[in-house]
């Protein structure tokens, strides 16, 4: 409604009245129809109930809210001291506090993560939620290699997660392999499938790349769903063995974890152990990614995102660069997948639908592509946000979508959009996001 408002300091009462009238009519058009009427099942069919009071109060909220906004924030016209600016101010303030102290911040976060399960207010629900968030952090970090660093838009990332999960479940079922043996195997198998996917998509750019990766994700899911004899199809696989702590099982009885450490048996032990397991796996992902960024391979990924032709003109084999990005990204998804399988004890193709891929991609994009910290923030916001709104089940997706739109309008390149150089001569200067290319498929 910027057109209706004068940019000068004063606001004439006529303009104000007009604005309030227009927003009132719009609100009435929306809310009297959506909130004002309700169909109820009655004897012999549907009956219509009228909630006009509810609709009118919604209109009143809009009009009065807008009036308050005009009298406070928008005094000097819209865009001056608006919500975006306040959010920017708060956000920049937070960033400023932590800027240059990323190391301390990281250590503090790590310590918090380590003591979290033992804090007094932490119960099983919180540990489970933290485990879930950490799983998505790990997946986000893995996908960040492919999308954030190499700039290859992958819409089928969940396929590698599924491959990791099924690798463990099937190896355990058919060969009786333990979790600790299957964990690296799942990673290797997922990496192998990453290369298989990589080959056909090498020549593709942009949207075409995104479509093929999307199709790949669906192929894996459909195969798992239909290969009934081998994978159990829609029934899934159950009775997946739980992980042991250096050979000690989390069970009741002698010679098991609680007994050896002289603790009273409690089911929380395994929950805490799983939490630390995913924490270690996620930290491994982060460590390896940060390490790789400083190695020639990581720089080659970023160079690929910036300009593929220039890469080739400098003698970089872009085929290998792309395949290595797919393979390493897939490997971490494979690790996360086998963790998922061992945590749940049951897996089915239901868990690996496109919406999972979209959620992981949303975490990467929302966090700021290529930013490790951004992935953590976005995971906490999205997965934690989902949990907060668990009560409002019907509106959860609505709120989720709305929040995504608002954040993307406010920060189009993600929450943490600056790029930190991998090497510096004198001074480490963050590179502003408008210079960083987004790569293929964006």
């Amino acid at each position: 409604m910027a057109e209706q408002t004068p940019n000068s300091g004063t606001l004439s009462p006529a303009m104000l009245a007009k604005d309030l009238l227009v927003s009132g009519i719009l609100a009435a058009a929306i809310f009297t129809t959506t909130l004002g009427f309700k169909t109820e099942t009655a004897v012999g069919g549907l009956s219509l109930e009228y909630h006009l009071g509810l609709g009118l109060s919604a209109v009143a909220v809009v009009v009065i809210g807008r009036l308050i906004l005009w009298l406070t924030l928008w005094r000097k016209g819209p865009g001056t001291g608006g919500a975006g600016e306040i959010a920017d101010g708060v956000f920049n303030g937070i960033v400023k506090i932590f800027a240059g102290r990323t190391k301390q911040l990281g250590i503090a976060a790590l310590i918090f993560a380590l003591v979290f399960p033992f804090l007094p207010f932490t119960d099983r629900y919180y540990i489970d939620l933290a485990t879930l968030i950490l799983t998505y952090v790990m997946l986000g970090w893995g996908l960040n290699i492919v999308v954030g660093l190499a700039g290859l838009l992958d819409l089928g990332y969940v396929a590698f997660y599924a491959i990791g999960a099924y690798s463990y479940a099937l190896l355990a079922q058919y060969f009786g392999f333990s979790f600790w043996l299957c964990l690296p195997l799942a990673g290797i198998l997922a990496a192998f499938w990453g290369i298989i996917l990589g080959f056909p998509v090498l020549r593709l750019r942009g949207d075409y790349l995104a479509i093929v990766t999307l199709a790949f994700g669906e192929i894996i899911r459909v195969v798992l769903l239909n290969w009934y004899q081998f994978t159990g199809g829609p029934d899934g696989l159950s009775g997946i063995p739980r992980p042991s702590f250096f050979g000690l099982e989390f069970k009741r009885g002698e010679g098991n974890f609680a007994d050896v450490f002289g603790l009273e048996y409690s089911s929380i032990h395994r929950i805490i152990f799983l939490y630390f397991l995913i924490l270690a796996l996620a930290l491994l992902t982060n460590f390896v990614t940060n390490r790789l960024r400083r190695l020639p391979i990581g720089r080659a990924w970023e160079a690929l995102r910036e300009d593929e032709i220039a890469c080739r003109s400098l003698g970089l084999n872009t085929t290998m660069v792309k395949l290595s990005a797919f393979a390493i990204g897939a490997m971490f998804a494979g690790f996360a997948g086998s963790f998922f399988a061992t945590r749940q004890g049951f897996i089915s193709p239901e868990s690996f639908t496109f919406i999972e891929s979209a959620l992981i991609l949303a975490i990467v994009v929302l966090g700021g592509m290529g930013s490790q910290v951004g992935v953590v923030v976005a995971s906490i916001a999205l997965i934690g946000g989902f949990e907060i709104f668990r009560e409002a089940e019907q509106f959860r997706m609505l709120i989720f979508g709305l929040a995504m739109v608002v954040i993307m309008v406010w920060k189009p390149r993600g929450l943490i959009s600056t790029r930190i150089p991998s090497i510096f001569l004198k001074e480490k200067k963050a590179v502003s996001s408008d210079m960083v290319a987004q790569g293929e498929g964006h």
Partner: protein, 289 residues
């Protein structure tokens, strides 16, 4: 026999490139001498960039042979090599008409990407590097030294930690050349390096190119429209028009070649003789004066 035919770094023989019905390059042959600055000139659409793309593997020529000869006697048939192997194995580096930098990466990072292949070997294809083996750390130090050396000569040391996209245009041109030099090429192919530069920047560019020729023994092949650059620094000029070679020689020879003048100024074929006479006349008057 001209100098560049004796000590050949790159020889292009009977090169033809056809795009559907268009014959962009027609039976072109020329040599690039070792340690020379060779300029490839011609009016717009003459096929210069096509020749470049054939040499650097971005196009596969329809016909012809392109041979690079290193001073240790190794020869490489460029038309048979993958584009990325040409800088890697045959040591032929190139720059682009529209600058292609890694804009979001710093100047130093750009230079490090150029040294990807030796660093990749030093890091044992990442496996050694991930555990921080000393072999890789030393190789990385050396790579930084080489980058510093070229940043210094391109006048970019001050901006080493700035994003490449943040540099002014002239510096971006120089960075692209410095980055190509970090691959330690035997032949450097520059596609219009002076395009869009102001006289001062163009002067700096000349100095950089002469420095490369003197100190690195790297041959330079360049496409250029700026005749000041061409005449000032090149040892050998090849002139193309409509995909064919119309002149080949030293800058002075080419400058007075009536065919070249006709191609640039658009003289009818039967008028060439008149132009030729005029040139002879001016030359004598100049000598007289």
């Amino acid at each position: 026999m001209a100098k560049w035919d004796e000590n050949v770094l790159l020889s292009v023989e009977h090169l033809s490139m056809r795009f559907g019905g268009l014959l962009a390059v027609n039976d072109l042959s020329f040599n690039v001498g070792r340690g020379d600055i060779t300029a490839l000139i011609g009016p717009n659409g003459a096929g210069k960039t096509t020749v470049f793309n054939c040499i650097t593997g971005f196009y596969k020529p329809t016909e012809g042979m392109i041979t690079a000869r290193h001073d240790d006697g190794k020869t490489f048939l460029l038309e048979r090599m993958d584009d990325f192997k040409i800088p890697k194995k045959a040591k032929v580096a190139r720059t682009f008409q529209n600058i292609r930098l890694f804009g979001g990466m710093t100047v130093l990072e750009n230079m490090m990407v150029a040294q990807h292949n030796p660093l990749m070997i030093a890091s044992n294809y990442t496996f050694g590097g991930i555990f921080g083996l000393s072999g890789f750390r030393n190789a990385e130090k050396e790579a930084i030294e080489l980058a510093k050396y070229w940043m210094n000569h391109a006048g970019l040391t001050e901006r080493a930690d700035d994003a490449a996209a943040d540099l002014p245009y002239g510096d971006q041109r120089k960075l692209e050349i410095a980055r190509a030099m970090c691959t330690r090429p035997k032949l450097l192919c520059l596609d219009e390096p002076a395009a869009g530069l102001n006289p001062r920047e163009s002067d700096e560019l000349n100095k950089l190119l002469l420095f490369i020729r003197e100190n690195e023994k790297t041959g330079i092949l360049l496409i250029e429209h700026d005749m000041n650059v061409v005449m000032e620094i090149s040892d050998h000029v090849v002139v193309l028009d409509y995909g064919e070679k119309i002149s080949d020689g030293t800058p002075d020879q080419v400058k007075t070649d009536p065919k070249v003048i006709a191609a640039y100024l658009g003289v009818d074929d039967d008028e060439i003789e008149d132009v030729e006479q005029e040139i002879v006349k001016t030359a004598t008057t100049e000598e007289g004066a």
